[in-house]
Subunit: 320 residues, 2 copies
């Protein structure tokens, strides 16, 4: 029986992670933390026992009590202000909050539970603007973050390494590329597109048009169910102090993703670019290699892009 | 007449920077900020007018008023929690304070004075543990910071770049290697050694012994008077968004520095290592190249190491 603390408990990834434990018969005791009240109910699950507390991770003393009492084996640190757009509007607040919650967590672990393993979740945004000849991105490449959000992620990763090497903590770091999957909020691009396309298909949205930012950008999308599989395998087999790309290894433009989804729904639409939706200094192409993850953990991708998109569309079809 | 705002006004570097302006007949109006009361008196200077306010840079509103009213051409951002040792004892506090004062400054400039040039002072510590074959360190090398302090410095540099490229601010960044020179506090290693050796020479310190940390480490020392010359030249000729090493290009071990100072004072002493003074995960060798700085600004080193050490010893000789 593993004891696992999850921050950002109400989020998309956390839900899929707990579902993964249940489905794979991994007996676990989960303690969830989220800044908002939880509406999650896992009481019918057979392999997973969950408890929850609503807490702002900036409140260090409360966090210390929880970790001292729960004594987790693993900590899955998912809580973050993860919007790149928000970080451009409020660079200081975004950076500070992300770093402060991370530092609170590390300091508490350093004090009360130094033997547990922490998964510090980072982002492909850490690589920054890269030229075509540098993809697929390898973990050893230099990091040139171009947004306030991305700088915070780099700082978190570098501090993770300092806590490992300087204080002996057991941290494994990820650079997670774009996740997609059923249940993702429609503030994220693919989920937003899918929702609107379903609305068009159903005639709820009358105008057969998608207003977008720059859809020529190429991203490496991985289904969230493959992401949580990687996270669990990194708890079990990742090497302390090492960083791993979590990605599919394949790149696709947003325009092509829209095309595939229109194909699945059998609809035709118009596209319109809104310059307000174009981010300053956005990365043109992000594709990673997952060789290091595979070699360390035996992980393989199980869900291909087409299947993810079908499931996302099916999710919105049921929901609206 | 240039208007220059200096944070960390009471420090070692600030004093030498103002002295540099006076000596080189650079007409300037200085506004100094420091967290502590100032005991500096520049009233007899002919080329430099100074005013001062005591302020914690965490107080953003006051900083905003100052910058709005003063409308500087240049901002020399020297204020920081610059002790690597403190950052190991209080990683969270050290990191947060350094980042919060920097972010306050950048946000205020973004709001009220976006055309001024900011010199963001970083550190050679950003490079991290490097193997001998990588020295001298070039600006394009990847950064692998090994202390909480160094991570904050990397974050500051990366955020500077984001503020340049994403918001159009005019920031020039440095990676400043170890400064030495007369007037430096004895919490810094060379100044501390020099003071103790002068005390031994004068018979004030009876035991002819120096207790040290690891003195096999090799560092690139540059006289503070050459450092401030570089800073001024970067205000005038540095390229926005670029980072420059500020260094001599020569490495020397602390042991050799002690030998030279003993030679200047004509004394012989014993050395003793105290394991408490050895830092976790310290860099073994740090030497930089200053080619980029030279090419951009025409800067050349004027004060050699021996002369610096003589002046430092002379400073302590007068003082104690």
């Amino acid at each position: 029986m593993k004891k696992i603390l999850i921050t950002g408990f109400n989020g998309f990834v956390s839900g899929h992670f707990i579902n993964y434990l249940e489905k794979n018969n991994i007996k676990s005791e989960i303690f969830g933390i989220d800044i908002n009240k939880s509406e999650m109910d896992y009481s019918i699950f057979e392999n997973v026992i969950t408890s929850f507390v609503q807490l702002d991770l900036l409140e260090r003393d409360s966090l210390e009590n929880i970790i001292y009492n729960f004594q987790p084996n693993y900590i899955l640190h998912l809580a973050s202000y993860s919007s790149v757009g928000f970080s451009w509007k409020n660079p200081s607040l975004s950076f500070r909050n992300n770093m402060n919650i991370f530092l609170n967590l590390m300091e508490v672990v350093r004090e009360v539970n130094p033997s547990c393993r922490i998964l510090s979740v980072g982002s492909s945004e850490e690589y920054g603007n890269v030229t075509k000849d540098k993809v697929p991105l390898k973990e050893e490449y230099s990091l040139e973050p171009v947004s306030p959000y991305a700088v915070a992620r780099v700082s978190q990763e570098q501090l993770s390494k300092v806590y490992c090497d300087g204080y002996g903590l057991d941290v494994v770091m990820t650079r997670s590329f774009n996740h997609i999957g059923p249940g993702q909020k429609d503030i994220f691009v693919i989920s937003s597109f899918a929702k609107q396309l379903v609305e068009i298909k159903k005639g709820i949205k009358k105008e057969r048009k998608l207003v977008t930012g720059d859809i020529s950008v190429v991203r490496d999308f991985l289904d969230v169910r493959d992401v949580v599989d990687a996270y669990y395998k990194l708890f079990a087999h990742g090497v302390k102090g090492e960083v791993y790309n979590i990605c599919s290894g394949n790149g696709i433009s947003l325009r092509e993703v829209i095309d595939i989804m229109c194909g699945i729904l059998d609809i035709q639409i118009d596209l319109e670019t809104d310059s307000n939706l174009i981010r300053p200094n956005d990365n043109k192409i992000i594709i990673g290699t997952n060789e290091k993850l595979k070699a360390a953990t035996g992980w393989v991708q199980k869900i291909k892009l087409k299947k993810s998109l079908e499931d996302i569309i099916s999710y919105w079809d049921k929901k609206i």
